[in-house]
């Protein structure tokens, strides 16, 4: 052991992010002050990022079980039953703070990290989605972050051959200083290939494979990932982590082949906190100990200290446990995939994490102290008495005509077409993308396409899954996926806003004919030690749990990103929801656009729109309301049920859920997606409103609420929905532009006008 004179002090512990009380606890566990390696490891594992100190108690309230759940929270990713012996693994993760420092690499390594979580449990990644938040695009910094992040996601996802099939982006000033970069990935695995991360079998060998270890992101997890970004963040900048998708593509193939050959006891990716967290968590999950010799770790830079090796966040690395007899075979396979494997340790029965540097013991800690004994904190929630978020300056006059409102909304950054973003992503590689962005409300991915496995040179054509889209006429089951969260609505009302985000995902799934299998979430919030943020978090998690219970879409995994705030205040609370569903036959996957002139257009659902916290209110510069109207979750659910059922039997030509910008924007989007127009009469609807004044009519046109859908199809198909929910026929698909009759507030716009307004984001990506 290192001599006492070189032991770090309390000051060092504080600098690493531990509190004085936590440091005392560490000393207690260690029987004295920890040395440098030990302190580094404790400080990482006891960070908010790894220990969920402020969120774990809340997370325990979430529903995590259900008939489709195969693997719930606790593993690298959750998994649900996808049918036919396959499971779908999925998870969303954030890379907010690294991306604020270096958006390209931050976003790229965010994608790399979430993909590793998917293949760490044995699933082949089949899709990525991104969820992004920036300040208003009028700010140069926001545009820089947007371009960098999108480039980084494109770089990593495109290069590794996983399609990016969907996502979302919002521009709001509370994200100006603290952007959010969340990435979600899905994978497919034969059920028997699923693997857990728990180490087992004392005497088994711990093998590190993939990239060599450098000084990447040292201090990242505790300093970079969980502290508020101050003005002095230049000093806190550790070496930026650089992603190498080419290395990861080999790591992925190697990992899956190791599992296919049954060579591994367990597998784990190296993410935040590198070897420290991977090894300790593997040991903890398996109730064993692990000895690691850092002198065996292949280094990219000479002279790295043991603690640096233990905390390095170099990308594209994996850790596995292997029975001694299998080690040569494992190392040989690593060589074949050019990912270099090295035995760096052994599983022990000591239940201690021991770090050696050659013969010298440089760290020795009880696994349970490292992983389980970090204190958990209670939140002290209290709603702020004064508004926390300033209204956005008005850009639209309150007496603007309905037509001007519509065009302003269509061209506003939160509503305009995302084409300039998603055109930078390969959405079709792997040949299973049945619905790409802007074709439908959710992405749809065929399951049965025989490409689950990448076949290899030895002619194993490895068609593990089903029969393929061609040839036979059987159904082609598919997955649908959606990611969503309107942070402004959550800011107005964390409980109802979060319910709305969950409902929105399920509505998106319903529009393509899919029913939810499970949910993932990324809780992006400010500093939980502040009462108002604690209140937001508590209320949001309450809404999340209730909504997922009501929809029977349990939470199978997720992530928490706290301290997203700067001196200018916290971000909008942003519980990003990702939901995966299944549909029996991809051939009936819904589209959003109008399909044929002459078809009937109907408004479906008990839609009760409100301008509170709506996009229109934002453009008008209105402050956030005190709360949102109550949501009738059961009614929304029955509307989803009706739309889903009709879509599955081919009873509808199109379905689109009404979201930002309300009915008029949803109609415009259906026109644009189908290249057709619409003749819509809302007079009858307005007649339902007693004494409808101008604001009431605007509410009908542009108000927002969960549970409303625009559907189109032949009259009988549309009316059939009425057995389960409310259906109001409002018009007919036409060849001309959009025309909405609503007394004095009638409006018309040509398709060209709609297209131009909707294309407003193009100027953010100049050539």
């Amino acid at each position: 052991m290192a001599p006492a004179a070189t032991l770090p002090t309390l000051q060092d512990a504080l600098a690493l992010g531990l509190t004085e009380a936590e440091y005392e606890l560490v000393c207690g566990h260690q029987g004295g002050p920890p040395n440098q390696v030990e302190l580094a490891m404790y400080s990482l594992l006891w960070s908010e990022h790894c220990a969920y100190k402020h969120s774990k108690k809340l997370l325990r309230t979430l529903p995590t079980e259900g008939e489709h759940v195969v693997m719930g929270p606790g593993e690298n990713a959750g998994a649900v039953d996808a049918g036919d012996g396959l499971v779908c693994a999925f998870k969303v993760e954030s890379h907010n703070h690294p991306s604020a420092v270096e958006p390209f690499q931050g976003a790229a390594t965010g994608v790399g990290g979430i993909l590793r979580d998917i293949f760490a449990i044995g699933a082949r990644p089949i899709a990525v989605l991104d969820s992004l938040r920036f300040g208003e695009p009028s700010s140069a910094r926001s545009r820089y972050l947007l371009d960098g992040a999108v480039s980084g996601i494109a770089h990593y996802g495109n290069s590794i051959g996983v399609p990016t099939v969907g996502g979302e982006v919002y521009f709001e000033s509370p994200y100006e200083q603290n952007c959010l970069i969340n990435a979600m990935a899905l994978g497919l695995a034969p059920r028997e290939r699923l693997v857990r991360s728990a180490a087992a079998g004392p005497g088994n060998v711990v093998i590190l494979f993939g990239a060599s270890t450098g000084r990447d992101g040292i201090g990242g997890a505790s300093v970079l990932a969980s502290a508020e970004l101050g003005d002095d963040d230049a000093d806190k900048r550790p070496t930026v982590q650089v992603g190498d998708p080419f290395a990861e593509s080999k790591l992925l193939e190697c990992s899956l082949e190791l599992l296919d050959r049954g060579l591994l006891v367990s597998l784990q990716d190296l993410g935040a906190a590198g070897l420290t967290s991977s090894a300790s968590e593997m040991a903890s999950a398996g109730c064993v100990g692990i000895d690691i010799d850092v002198s065996l770790v292949p280094l990219r830079e000479a002279d790295m200290e043991p603690f640096e090796i233990m905390v390095s966040e170099s990308q594209e690395r994996m850790l596995c446990v292997v029975e001694p007899a299998r080690v040569p075979e494992v190392l040989a396979l690593c060589e074949r995939w050019e990912v270099h494997g090295t035995a760096i340790g052994t599983v022990t029965d000591t239940r201690r994490m021991r770090v050696f540097d050659g013969p010298e013991l440089v760290g020795d800690m009880p696994v349970s102290a490292l992983v389980d004994d970090c204190p958990l904190y209670d939140l002290a929630p209290a709603r702020s008495a004064t508004p926390v978020y300033a209204p956005t300056p008005a850009t639209l006059a309150s007496d603007a005509s309905p037509r001007d409102c519509l065009l302003a909304l269509l061209s506003s950054p939160n509503v305009a077409s995302r084409r300039p973003l998603f055109e930078r992503y390969d959405a079709i590689v792997q040949s299973r993308t049945v619905r790409r962005p802007e074709q439908a409300d959710a992405a749809v991915l065929a399951i049965c396409h025989p490409q689950e496995m990448r076949a290899r040179d030895d002619g194993e054509s490895a068609q593990e899954t089903g029969t393929g889209a061609d040839g036979d006429d059987g159904p082609i089951p598919a997955l649908a996926v959606s990611i969503d969260c309107n942070g402004r609505r959550v800011a107005a009302d964390p409980y109802r806003g979060t319910i709305a985000a969950v409902l929105e995902c399920a509505s998106n799934l319903a529009c393509v004919g899919a029913e939810p299998l499970g949910t993932t979430n990324n809780l992006n919030f400010g500093n939980p030690e502040k009462p108002h943020v604690a209140w937001q978090l508590t209320e949001s998690v309450r809404g999340l749990g209730e909504a997922c219970r009501a929809l029977e879409a349990p939470i199978v995994g997720g992530n928490v990103s706290l301290y997203n705030e700067t001196s200018s205040g916290p971000i909008y609370p942003t519980p990003v929801i990702g939901m995966v569903g299944r549909l029996p036959d991809a051939r009936n996957a819904g589209r959003l656009g109008f399909a044929r002139a002459g078809e009937t257009i109907a408004l479906v659902g008990h839609f009760a729109p409100s301008l509170d916290a709506s996009e229109l209110s934002k453009l008008r510069g209105h402050p956030l309301p005190e709360e949102l109207p109550d949501i009738d979750v059961a009614a929304v659910r029955s509307a989803q049920f009706a739309v889903r059922g009709a879509m599955r039997v081919g009873g509808l030509s199109g379905a689109h859920d009404i979201a930002e910008g309300g009915l008029a924007v949803a109609l415009s989007e259906c026109c644009l997606a189908g290249g057709l127009g619409a003749e819509v009469r809302l007079d009858a609807l307005a007649g339902e409103e007693r004494d409808a004044d101008r604001e009431e009519l605007l509410r009908l046109l542009f108000g927002e609420a969960p549970g409303g859908f625009i559907v189109s199809g032949i009259p009988t198909g549309v009316r059939a929905l009425g057995r389960r929910t409310r259906v109001r026929v409002i018009g007919t698909v036409s060849r001309e532009g959009l025309r909405v009759d609503l007394g004095e507030l009638s409006l018309t716009a040509t398709l060209a006008e709609l297209t131009e307004a909707h294309g407003a984001l193009a100027e953010l990506f100049p050539c």
Partner: protein, 223 residues
């Protein structure tokens, strides 16, 4: 009739190409490190990011052992189709004239593009009519076709400019809207758009890409 589809580290669309080829004939993957083309009657060099696209797209892959065999195969008249990264590899290997440079817009761009068949009846376009439009997705960052004027003139005369982007579709800035070219002998063909992603109504909405795979099959079977 059997297709061989090369597989480099970093290839992404090789399984897609394999499955597309299997819609018309047999097909097998060929590992980059193998010299044995396993008796394939036609070779597909697929899309993706071979060797990470590092240095220059296609620059490293063209030296793979399997490519040596492909070069020989091509010299003997065997049909070779290069798609996207495969097109870049074939240019780097000098099996096709010209070079591919970063897109004019400097971005990876994914878009369904309309192509015009400018040379029909050959190995790869037997199934297409002159002037016919094909709807095929393109997705790449290095797709700007370049060759010097003399070469371009000779290619034009020799019917080597097989596909052009339809008016308004050339997002990468290729000279003369060139989307796909063949060698003088007509047995090597490269294009930036991805015909293997236009083989299934359900998945791409277009099946125009099948015409290229079918053309190869018919050519091989006629020989």
């Amino acid at each position: 009739m059997r297709f061989g589809v090369l597989q480099f580290p970093g290839s992404c669309d090789e399984v897609d190409a394999l499955q597309a080829a299997r819609r018309v004939a047999d097909a097998e993957l060929i590992w980059h490190g193998d010299r044995d083309l396993k008796g394939a009657d036609a070779i597909v060099v697929p899309g993706g990011f071979s060797y990470g696209d590092y240095l220059r797209a296609g620059a490293i892959a063209r030296f793979a052992p399997a490519m040596e065999s492909v070069i020989e195969f091509a010299r003997e008249g065997g049909p070779v189709l290069g798609i996207c990264n495969g097109f870049q590899v074939l240019c780097e290997a000098h099996l096709l004239p010209g070079a591919l440079l970063p897109n004019r817009n400097l971005r990876f761009t994914f878009r369904q593009v309309q192509l015009e068949v400018r040379s029909s009846g050959g190995t790869f376009t037997r199934e297409c009519a002159l002037g016919e439009r094909l709807s095929i997705p393109a997705k790449h960052a290095w797709g700007r076709y370049h060759a010097d004027e003399q070469t371009l003139a000779a290619m034009d005369d020799g019917g080597q400019i097989v596909l052009r982007y339809a008016p308004g579709e050339n997002f990468n800035g290729s000279l003369q809207d060139i989307a796909g070219v063949s060698n003088e002998a007509g047995n090597v063909f490269g294009l930036m758009p991805h015909p293997e992603h236009a083989v299934d109504e359900l998945i791409g909405g277009s099946t125009d890409g099948l015409k290229i795979f079918n053309s190869i099959k018919l050519t091989v079977e006629a020989a």
